[in-house]
Symmetry: D2
Subunit: 239 residues, 4 copies
Amino acid sequence: VTEISYDSHMHVELIQSTGTDKTIVAAARVSTVGELSADSFAADAPDQTGLINFLMKNRHGTPFEHGLFTFRVRVPIFVMRELHRHRIAFSFNEESGRYKKLDPVFFVPDVDRALIQTGKPGHYVYVPGEPDDTQFVKRSIERNSIQAWNEYNLMLDRGIAKEVARMVLPVNIYSTCYVTCNPRSLMAFLSLRTKSDEAKFPSYPMREIEQMGFQFEDHFSERYPITHEAFCKNGRVSP
Amino acid sequence: VTEISYDSHMHVELIQSTGTDKTIVAAARVSTVGELSADSFAADAPDQTGLINFLMKNRHGTPFEHGLFTFRVRVPIFVMRELHRHRIAFSFNEESGRYKKLDPVFFVPDVDRALIQTGKPGHYVYVPGEPDDTQFVKRSIERNSIQAWNEYNLMLDRGIAKEVARMVLPVNIYSTCYVTCNPRSLMAFLSLRTKSDEAKFPSYPMREIEQMGFQFEDHFSERYPITHEAFCKNGRVSP
Amino acid sequence: VTEISYDSHMHVELIQSTGTDKTIVAAARVSTVGELSADSFAADAPDQTGLINFLMKNRHGTPFEHGLFTFRVRVPIFVMRELHRHRIAFSFNEESGRYKKLDPVFFVPDVDRALIQTGKPGHYVYVPGEPDDTQFVKRSIERNSIQAWNEYNLMLDRGIAKEVARMVLPVNIYSTCYVTCNPRSLMAFLSLRTKSDEAKFPSYPMREIEQMGFQFEDHFSERYPITHEAFCKNGRVSP
Amino acid sequence: VTEISYDSHMHVELIQSTGTDKTIVAAARVSTVGELSADSFAADAPDQTGLINFLMKNRHGTPFEHGLFTFRVRVPIFVMRELHRHRIAFSFNEESGRYKKLDPVFFVPDVDRALIQTGKPGHYVYVPGEPDDTQFVKRSIERNSIQAWNEYNLMLDRGIAKEVARMVLPVNIYSTCYVTCNPRSLMAFLSLRTKSDEAKFPSYPMREIEQMGFQFEDHFSERYPITHEAFCKNGRVSP
């Protein structure tokens, strides 16, 4: 089936964003100075690091909500499923298997993907397998993807509804989604979906969602450098 | 692969619920009588139909939030995916393909499932196909389920991590989930995920999520008969 | 008490916003064209009115979430209280009577404020009173504001905590708040907090929150002209 | 004004609740055992303490959402204002100053209320004042409450709308509200609105909302003893 392609990457594009460290400072200062908080946006506004660090450390979370990131992501369904479990201040619009014929792009792990799981549930650790494990997995997934794609097309060719035909598609098929969140909800996502030695509460995320998360984090640190540093410095706990 | 089984049903069990039509009345009346709203719970509380109908018609939604339903559902992943898109006042805990080996139960459409899609996106209508379409779909899905289940086991037997091996599983495999919502969020769900001639805003749900929705609705109408009747009577618009 | 001032206006400033009608179209089209939805942002993207109108009419709400408005509002506490009841996709940071001495600015109704309430609860209509009713109300509110401001200062001068001293302040004192929402949550607000002959579900908002709402709406219609027109044309029902 | 009364207490009544420690265990176990999680409800279900402690410590929050508490609270508006800032999984219906004449019950601090604020914003500490400070505050608040109540009645007697007349009422007047939340959102509330030496992230709540919070907590610990103990033992961090 020559039209099938395989991919091992999580694709993230930033569509739009708004808000800066100054927005957070202004929103926080309204509690103590009211209207005068407007001066937080001035070019010569005083240093903001101390206040942002204070907010982060003491978990005053609401000032971190006055901003937005919209990403377009292209990831396999097994990653999308985890992404869609984030409900608070997350918005989604995804490609629909009911409305369109899906594209024949399937995820396969690359050689860097640790394939063996050790440890207890909730604390799984993943380690590399035998040298040819990656090939074994790759061949199995490819066989399966081809089989599923063929069955999908057999049904579509007969005129079966897309929403029925897609029942055969495996969760490693790629899908596209617009994702909008705010800095606070993004930090909540990062605290759960990335693993870091700096984390006060350790997480054990699936590698693929973490790869997407790190790309979110790059955009976050670029747009909100002070906030991002305070997040890391204070144990990557969402405020 | 004798261990595989096929299913065409959506399974819903009510685990717990709380709140009645009287709770809604009490919560609504607090705005006009304050503390005295406590008498709404009395055995001889006056008729509640008029007030509930007024709330529903005029979309005063908050009084419908003081209650809860917890369901345990067992449905295919392609239904679970739609279910998990409901974020507001919905809570979920689902079986994990990272933590457990999934069970070999796969969805196949039964003979009553219309297989042919007509009309435009957003207004699809489904009609029955040719006499042997159901058999065609069934065989295709079964072949695919067996293939996927075999590949899954091949990888697991080799010691590949469950979260990797499961990448071959198709979206018609069943999963189990606890779902909690309140009467208002349940009505929002029903307004979108069921089709009814009474609906002021027509919906075009996928049949399988609608089958789950009707079971939710049965529990709802049993526990909140007055509210359910007002919901239907006022165009099935979530208040 | 010469430092006291009176105000009859609701003050709204737009701090930041992002997203346009094109964002909504791109997010909606991802369901039917996947990745290709990116072309919705192109300069020569086809007409968007039809699709936005379709989404609004059929209550496909999620595409309207990929945008943001941040306002700074200065309104009396009795308006702030209603504003803060909006929970979904609304973020707030408000001036604190615990952390700062409040400013002596108090609301008084102007001559255009209808003062007499007729009709039944839930359907109140407000009509102008006798010619000197406005003066009567104004004098009463001014006497009360002065008295409260004096008591507040008496306690503060003695060293009593701000959070205790402020207990005497009436709900017509002004406060400042940053408010962030998205186009969908803004429409939900407008559908409830403004009165319009175009509305499919009539609302009976308090005049002062409506005055704030109309200012929100001006910013909305300027930034999202197609969406705003579709909102009005389809009965001002939040999608 | 003999009809006025004063109160120094926060009133909390439990209206309904559902869910137990077993519900949490069942919802958590679905991820690892699927359907078999149903046996978590059995009379002889194995010890749950270990699992709940694990969930709490590692911040697996969703299993704590499948339950509900509905309280009716009667507290002053300055407390209600803080309560209403909790948006996630909180539902409210409150007495309305637009729809009913409010009751003449006003808050005054009792002798145990520390009246002097020291320390920096965000870390305020409250200490008792001079012996007659309480009397001073009490007299000031009483004068103010009487004045406001008189102006309110003057306007009402003239036929001025309730929503206008109430503008003179101070934030220490009592109001009644139905409040619904789940165990997780309740813990988020408690972590922010109570002060405890056990807390990993210290909070500096206003005394009156803390008094309400402790009453919520009593109902919580009675209904969910294992969960409550795990909450305290793990630093009162909401999972």
